[in-house]
């Protein structure tokens, strides 16, 4: 039993980061219906930014992630303006291709710039553990969990309370009518995309201490992000947060009881199951 709960807890810790990634994609795909196959690659960029700050300026990733987030906000906005906005109204097919192309460019540029070598940050916190009761939790994971939670709650509040957030949801519900309400659709969409990418960057920064860094590290996360969005229900930011946690726990349990190498498989299985059985997601309404 303890074993089970321990696995669940570890899953929740990872899940919070997944939630960040998923919420970012939910902003882009769920709300704006832009199929962003480059999401994981942006996460990778966030990791490299944090890494550079750590290597060159000795900034701890647990501070550096903020810079990664800001950089990716700007970068995301640029990408949106130049490459995504022109094809905004084209088919999903085209968006998938375009973002796949962007992903290839990002990954390969990283490889040309930094080489294919694996890098690692050595932060003391990663090796420390926190004990309470029969449970042991990694100190670094606990910290990222805390930080991630702040951002998760923050984003949720922003989307629900702020005017921009409401504008966002208005556009998600009815893109044609929104401008009649005085909403500058183009600007909000650009902002939304940038914000989604920024969250991918933040997640990347927070993941840096825990993973080996190499150019294709982000690729698995694109699919994970979509799985999370589907789990959570289309267009639902809160759903994506829940979905992230669910995925984290599912992976952790799979790792513990079936084997490490099958953890990735559970992503696909959940994905295919969800789409076949309940396309509107665990928490979603009708919109798949």
């Amino acid at each position: 039993m303890v074993h089970f709960l321990q696995a669940c807890m570890n899953g929740l810790l990872t899940g919070a980061l997944y939630a960040l990634i998923g919420m970012g994609l939910a902003l882009i795909f769920g709300v704006m219906r832009i199929v962003n196959f480059a999401h994981g690659s942006f996460l990778m960029v966030g990791m490299y930014v944090s890494y550079l700050l750590f290597e060159r300026l000795k900034i701890n990733p647990y501070y550096g992630f903020i810079a990664a987030g800001i950089f990716l906000f700007g970068f995301g906005y640029l990408v949106y303006k130049l490459l995504i906005q022109p094809i905004r109204d084209r088919s999903d097919f085209m968006q998938i291709l375009m973002t796949t192309g962007i992903a290839l460019i990002l990954v390969d540029t990283a490889q040309l710039t930094f080489g294919a070598d694996y890098h690692q940050t050595n932060i003391d916190l990663v090796n420390r553990a926190v004990h309470f009761g029969p449970f042991t939790l990694n100190a670094a994971s606990l910290l990222s969990f805390g930080i991630a939670t702040v951002f998760i709650v923050g984003l949720r509040e922003f989307v629900v309370r702020s005017r921009t957030g409401q504008a966002l949801r208005a556009i998600a519900q009815n893109r044609d009518v929104a401008p009649l309400m005085g909403i500058n659709v183009t600007r909000i969409q650009g902002f939304s995309f940038a914000l989604g990418i920024a969250f991918a960057g933040i997640a990347g920064g927070l993941l840096l201490p825990a993973l080996y860094l190499f150019p294709s590290v982000g690729e698995d996360y694109t699919l994970k992000a979509f799985v999370i969005v589907v789990l959570g229900g289309m267009g639902s930011i809160e759903g994506a947060a829940m979905g992230g946690l669910v995925l984290g726990v599912a992976e952790s349990l799979t790792s513990t009881y079936i084997g490490n190498q099958w953890a990735l498989a559970i992503d696909f299985v959940l994905f295919l199951l969800m789409l076949s059985l309940k396309p509107s997601g665990i928490f979603g309404r009708q919109r798949a």
């Binding site: 085209m94 998938i96 192309g101 099958w262 295919l272």
Partner: protein, 333 residues
């Protein structure tokens, strides 16, 4: 119209003959290998074109069939099945798997369909990495059909033969009811249903055909390189390449995938000699450019240009609500 058809046939035969030329002229084994890959990916692009071009279903999971063909060959051959028969059986097995996959993924639309196909490819890769029969992460050896100094020349010609076969399948499809139904599905599934097309059935058929051809290419590839590993033969990169080759050249056209293969692999090879590695960047840049400026692909773009030239030459036609119809009203009243 018939004369044009006849001319097209001769041009096609000529092109096939031309593509055999490298086998006679090129002696460098590395270059022959490059030619082999170009021909093979032309075949793959043409195979993908059936599902992605004509039927309009963006599958990014085709590597599943590619890998199944290669692994099928390797496993069957290790049980003493003669190579040609092994290739056939492997391809048929891949088609069976395609039927299963099709049942699942065709229920989904848009990006979900594409994601599901990706998931299928990845599941297969993970499975191959973790099973004993597929050699796990270490992989398997694949038997060769040809040996000796003519190795790459013969493999190249085989690839050309396969590409020609795929081309013929495309040609037949484009000029048959099957093709029209697929295109209808691509343009508007409701309209297709309204004229009696069982869309699920036809989508599946295009996938089965495509899977069979893809698997044969996979077996040929595995056989040529003699060693297969999941991360090489079941990687999503191959699925993406297939799609890009067809799109760049022109999805839904006959020559598109061929042009795409020559261009893309040619560009990537040139890039490779400059930078010694990493050809993905050029793929990415090309995709971005094509999507922004030439969404019909190269051949598609040319066809469109020709069509608009032809329209400009014709005198503008009266619309139906003018003379003919009104005179009918007058007559009727």
């Amino acid at each position: 119209m018939k004369e044009l058809r006849g001319a097209k046939l001769w041009i096609t035969i000529g092109l096939v003959a031309l593509s055999c030329l490298p086998a006679l002229v090129v002696e460098n084994n590395y270059l022959l290998q490059v030619c082999f890959r170009i021909a093979l990916f032309a075949a793959l692009g043409l195979a993908w074109n059936l599902v992605g071009g004509y039927a309009g279903q963006l599958s990014l999971g085709h590597v599943a069939f590619f890998g199944l063909g290669a692994y099928g060959l390797a496993i069957l051959a290790s049980h003493s099945v003669p190579v040609p028969i092994a290739v056939l059986i492997a391809s048929l097995l891949a088609t069976l798997v395609a039927a299963l996959i099709g049942k699942i993924v065709f229920r989904l639309r848009g990006p979900y369909f594409t994601l599901a196909t990706i998931a299928c490819g990845e599941v297969l890769r993970l499975t191959a990495t973790n099973l004993n029969i597929t050699g796990g992460a270490i992989g398997l050896t694949v038997p060769t059909v040809f040996t000796g100094p003519m190795f790459w020349k013969l493999y190249y010609l085989s690839a050309v033969a396969l590409a020609a076969g795929c081309f013929l399948v495309n040609f037949w499809t484009a000029n048959s009811r099957f093709g029209y139904y697929l295109m209808a599905i691509r343009e508007d599934e409701d309209t297709a249903s309204a004229v009696g097309v069982d869309t699920a059935n036809y989508k599946l058929r295009s996938l089965l055909l495509s899977a069979f051809l893809t698997a044969m290419a996979g077996a040929l590839y595995g056989s040529a390189f003699q060693y297969i590993v999941p991360d090489n033969i079941l990687t999503i990169d191959i699925s993406v390449q297939m799609a890009i080759i067809a799109m760049l050249g022109g999805a839904g056209t006959l020559l598109g995938p061929i042009v795409g293969a020559i261009l893309l692999l040619g560009a990537s090879e040139t890039f490779k000699t400059q930078f010694q590695e990493s050809h993905l960047l050029i793929y990415g840049v090309l995709i971005v450019l094509v999507v922004l400026f030439l969404p019909e692909g190269i051949v598609g773009g040319i066809e469109q240009l020709l069509r608009s030239r032809r329209k400009a030459a014709k005198p503008p036609a009266p619309t139906p609500n003018q003379s003919p119809a009104i005179s009918a009203v007058e007559k009727g009243n």
